[in-house]
Symmetry: C2
Subunit: 255 residues, 2 copies
């Protein structure tokens, strides 16, 4: 029963070394080993491998793939839906590139030359500090952003692990309240929102309730942020925003 490394490698179209690597880093460890130490992959392992290869091809790092796959409460259907969505987006992006190429062909035949900005327009989506720029515009003056950049620059790997852990706990807390039907303006939800604000203040920048409110809005408006919540539960981003708003109202009333 089960498949050997060679067999799995063959029909997955990867090398044996790749499977060894995934085993080494704990991304995909075969369910069993024979007494001789041979790896034996079960049906479930193949499922996991298929997903790994899928997300990998869409450009996720193996670490990211691991967190996606080990996300609690994500069944097969969750993944399929997400994969569908990711593919749709990627196709959209490529179609934009097609349009850009066609535009360039036209410009070429007309003898028009493009400005540097125009030339790289289509790559703009991938600008890594896009977040930064937006933060600057939205939160005014770039003060918060600068602070965040300075602070985070000094963080160690352990710090980041703690941040990830805390963030995950907050996400779970939001999700649980949401799934349990707790209203966003109930004390429980507001408390989680407050913990979230403290989390931001503690690790990134001094986050006032007003700034937090803006942040909450962005979680819904900006798909890059929304996806983090929506992939846990549909509607969670809006729920988080509402909780954050309710919390901001409460604290204003307190004052």
């Amino acid at each position: 029963m089960g498949y050997s490394v060679g067999q799995v490698a063959a029909f997955a179209g990867v090398t044996v070394r790749t499977l060894h690597h995934y085993d080494e880093i704990g991304l995909l460890s075969p369910g069993e080993r024979t007494r001789a130490g041979y790896r034996r992959y079960a049906e479930a392992d193949l499922d996991r491998l298929q997903r790994i290869l899928f997300y990998r091809e869409l450009g996720f790092s193996l670490e990211e793939v691991a967190t996606i796959l080990d996300e609690p409460g994500a069944g097969p259907m969750t993944h399929l839906r997400r994969q569908h969505e990711l593919l749709r987006r990627r196709i959209g992006r490529l179609q934009e590139m097609v349009a850009a190429v066609e535009k360039a062909m036209e410009a070429q035949t007309m003898g028009i030359s493009l400005t540097p900005q125009e030339r790289f327009e289509v790559f703009g989506d991938f600008d890594p500090d896009e977040h930064a720029q937006e933060a600057e515009e939205r939160w005014g003056g770039g003060d918060a952003f600068e602070q965040s950049r300075r602070r985070t620059a000094a963080y160690t790997k352990d710090d980041w692990l703690r941040i990830k852990e805390e963030g995950g706990a907050l996400l779970t807390a939001f999700a649980e309240a949401f799934e349990a039907g707790v209203p966003a303006d109930a004390e429980q939800a507001m408390d989680v929102a407050e913990r979230h604000r403290e989390h931001i203040s503690r690790w990134f920048y001094d986050c006032s309730t007003t700034m937090h409110r803006g942040l909450g809005d962005m979680y819904v408006a900006d798909p890059r942020f929304a996806v983090n919540y929506e992939r846990v539960a549909v509607g969670l981003a809006a729920y988080v925003r509402d909780a954050v708003h309710a919390n901001a109202d409460r604290r204003r009333d307190d004052a």
Copy 2:
């Protein structure tokens, strides 16, 4: 005049380090330096960078990108057409993946489970030894293929460089004859075909004229091979096939 590394990095959406790296490996060296040693990128450098990023995003290694960009006689329009084609294919592939995901979703909701082969079907295109399997089927018995595998296993980097060089020379020879309007059954073209057959025999496996004929057919029929010729000149794959056939006929007559 010209742009600094920082400026170029900014609107191309890459890091300064990346530009340094491209300079180091000779992929993109700025047209000029200031007397202080600062890099100054000209308009043409931006063009090149844009192409580099394009091909890179489609999965080419930097070495491959270099050979594509330094291909002699490839103007802006050649690149645009090729980019268009590559994008179209990539979109096609992603659409297949979408279909596969949708099929999986259906199977999931129906409670059907897929076989391992079905699971990885969509990744099949990337199976690296796909060529091998086909070779085995087409040339019968896998003898040629086995020989090729055994021989090439022992080749050094220098050997591969020579092979690439020889192959490039043959490609150029074919292209020149083609562009010059030399008929495929003219002596000049047949001679190149014969050199091509010897090249195969020398480096990969004993290639009879009959096998060579089959190989020529495949260069046209199989897009994975055809692309190597078509990207140099449209119609070149068919030309090569015809020359190979003519050469095979000639040598049969000789005998």
